[in-house]
């Protein structure tokens, strides 16, 4: 019998079935999460399903992160609706300012290696950095998990991406995943699981691994895994590795030793080019944050570039730490101070301007350089603004210059 890919192994552990791509299974779930975009709909659907008590409240989490603090009464009331349901059901609710769902779930240990986790948010595959099978679902699917503790899944085929070589100091994990997203394309991994392997990942921090797994959502993938070799977590775990004779739909081999910094140009995260093509493009607004690049190492990189400098007139920078814990660390080590002193606006830990629900909407005709993961038209709340995606280092260097530019060497 042929070997198993990571996703097949986890499904085997959960269901006892040897599955092949395309097989449909009903699997028990280890945990679930919903946000202020998706929880209200999930609660409604749960109630309409006749649900009274959620399956395993201790395995459920709600996070108020997408429009937090509430910008208007409508959203304030949705938040209250979530809080009330969470209190009645004994579900842990992470309040405004506690952070982005995907960062909080990792920090608080809601997701662990080997888990099958469902999140009502499309970037749920982020937890593939933790060796967990995590997939994004909509509100009604999530309600079904709240009710039954189970989900039906089609076993995904697996696309393997093998990277050869180490990244140059001026290229970061974000540059790598932007490049790979450009290569695979926005629908290149639709319905698939993506597995990343190669020496470059083995020395990557958890934050960088999360950034890589995060953008498998931009390839259309159902889930993604960064090979666990070298993964360090604050608790003991058994890594789940693919078998040597596992079957892949395709293996993409890439040399990454010469990879330059990348940008995704408007209006799609797979519209990716080496930064050269856009050097000199004026920018009005930089954003550092999100479940892709709002972690301590991202803020530190930006602070190293901006320390002791001032943003030029007419250019602004918004920084949203991925969690309260990231913010506290950034306050302790001087990172937050350096950013604010340089002229950055530090906002509530959470999604910030990423999805255009509240603060930080760009004006008509403005160009944004953002460390987020999506740049679809209208993404940040204004269809007449254009968004470039890049690494935190490129964002910091570009706002300082007033135009897209290479980060200084050695500053990733």
């Amino acid at each position: 019998m042929r070997g198993m890919t990571t996703v097949e192994k986890i499904l085997f552990q959960k269901t006892g079935q040897r599955v092949r791509p395309g097989d449909i299974v009903i699997a028990p779930v280890d945990g679930l999460m919903a946000t202020d975009t998706t929880a209200p709909g999930a609660i409604r659907a749960f109630e309409k399903m006749g649900g009274r008590h959620v399956w395993a409240p201790e395995r459920c989490a709600f996070v108020i992160d997408h429009a937090a603090p509430a910008p208007n009464e409508r959203i304030a009331n949705l938040h209250r609706f979530m809080r009330e349901f969470a209190r009645q059901q004994g579900i842990r609710l992470f309040e405004i300012g506690e952070g982005i769902c995907h960062q909080v779930m990792v920090e608080q240990g809601y997701v662990r290696p080997g888990y099958l986790f469902t999140g009502a948010d499309s970037h749920t595959p982020t937890y593939g950095a933790l060796n967990a099978f995590a997939c994004g679902v909509g509100s009604t699917d999530l309600a079904a998990v709240m009710l039954t503790g189970k989900i039906w899944l089609k076993t995904p085929a697996t696309l393997r991406i093998r990277c050869h070589g180490q990244l140059r100091p001026e290229a970061s994990a974000k540059d790598l995943i932007l490049y790979l997203t450009g290569k695979v394309g926005i629908s290149g991994a639709t319905y698939m699981s993506v597995e990343f392997e190669g020496e470059a990942f083995e020395t990557m921090s958890l934050a960088s691994r999360l950034c890589v797994a995060n953008m498998t959502a931009e390839m259309g993938a159902k889930t993604g895994f960064v090979h666990p070799r070298g993964l360090k977590l604050p608790y003991f775990f058994e890594p789940i590795e693919p078998d040597p004779d596992a079957e892949y739909v395709q293996t993409i081999e890439v040399d990454i030793g010469e990879l330059p910094p990348q940008v995704a140009a408007p209006e799609s995260p797979d519209n990716v080019y080496p930064i050269d093509r856009y050097i000199g493009t004026p920018v009005h607004y930089g954003f550092i944050g999100t479940c892709g690049n709002g972690r301590l190492e991202d803020l530190q990189v930006a602070a190293r570039i901006l320390r002791g400098k001032r943003l030029p007139k007419g250019v602004r920078l918004v920084v949203a730490p991925a969690s309260r814990s990231v913010l506290l660390d950034a306050m302790l080590d001087g990172t937050a101070h350096a950013l604010v002193e340089a002229g950055a606006t530090l906002i509530t830990p959470g999604c910030g301007p990423c999805v255009g629900s509240h603060e930080g909407v760009p004006a008509d005709g403005e160009t944004v350089i953002s460390a987020a993961n999506r740049n679809f038209r209208g993404r940040m709340g204004n269809p007449r603004a254009q968004i470039f995606l890049a690494s935190p280092a490129t964002v910091a260097a570009s706002v300082l210059a007033g135009h897209i530019t290479l980060p200084p060497p050695g500053d990733q």
Partner: protein
């Protein structure tokens, strides 16, 4: 389910993402009607005034990519769209649509044009283009999805069956 849908086609291209179906700034609501008011507004500002209840949204590859917002199929459904036809769909959108009872038909090759008059038979997945006379066959749904769609969505399905 012996449901036959009839309406005109509103045709769009590839990779229509959920931010274009319903921008994130409108999604924080439980009021489906308010979603419908903004459906597709950045992509096709005329859509709302042009479409008639029962019409089809027809697209190319990867319809519904991007966020997991169920508000996207809900906005289309509430606006009166009877079904979405695409060469293929992004996976979360596909699941969400079935879960709320919005039929989605995957037709890998089609040349349906703006305004074509369509008839879809959900029982056998056949789509008739009365403007051109062509007939297309949609890919069959997996058994579990078919049961959910037949129940009218996942809420009804679970209210009835309690579990999967």
């Amino acid at each position: 389910m012996s449901k036959v849908l009839r309406g005109h086609a509103h045709v769009y291209g590839d990779n229509i993402d959920t931010d274009r179906i319903i921008p994130g700034k409108y999604t924080k609501t439980l009021d489906a009607q308010s979603l419908a008011e903004h459906v597709l507004e950045d992509l096709d500002p005329e859509f709302r005034s042009r479409m008639r209840p029962g019409d089809f949204v027809v697209a190319g590859n990867n319809f519904g990519c991007g966020s997991s917002r169920e508000q996207a199929p809900l906005a289309l459904q509430t606006a009166g769209v009877s079904a979405v036809i695409a060469r293929y769909f992004a996976r979360i959108f596909f699941r969400n649509a079935i879960n709320i009872g919005l039929p989605v038909l995957e037709i890998p090759e089609h040349d349906i044009a703006q305004g074509d008059e369509l008839e879809a038979d959900l029982a056998d997945g056949k789509v008739y283009n009365h403007t051109t006379g062509k007939v297309y066959q949609a890919k069959p749904l997996p058994e579990v999805m078919l049961r959910i769609l037949q129940a009218g969505g996942l809420v009804n399905y679970l209210r009835e069956h309690k579990t999967f």
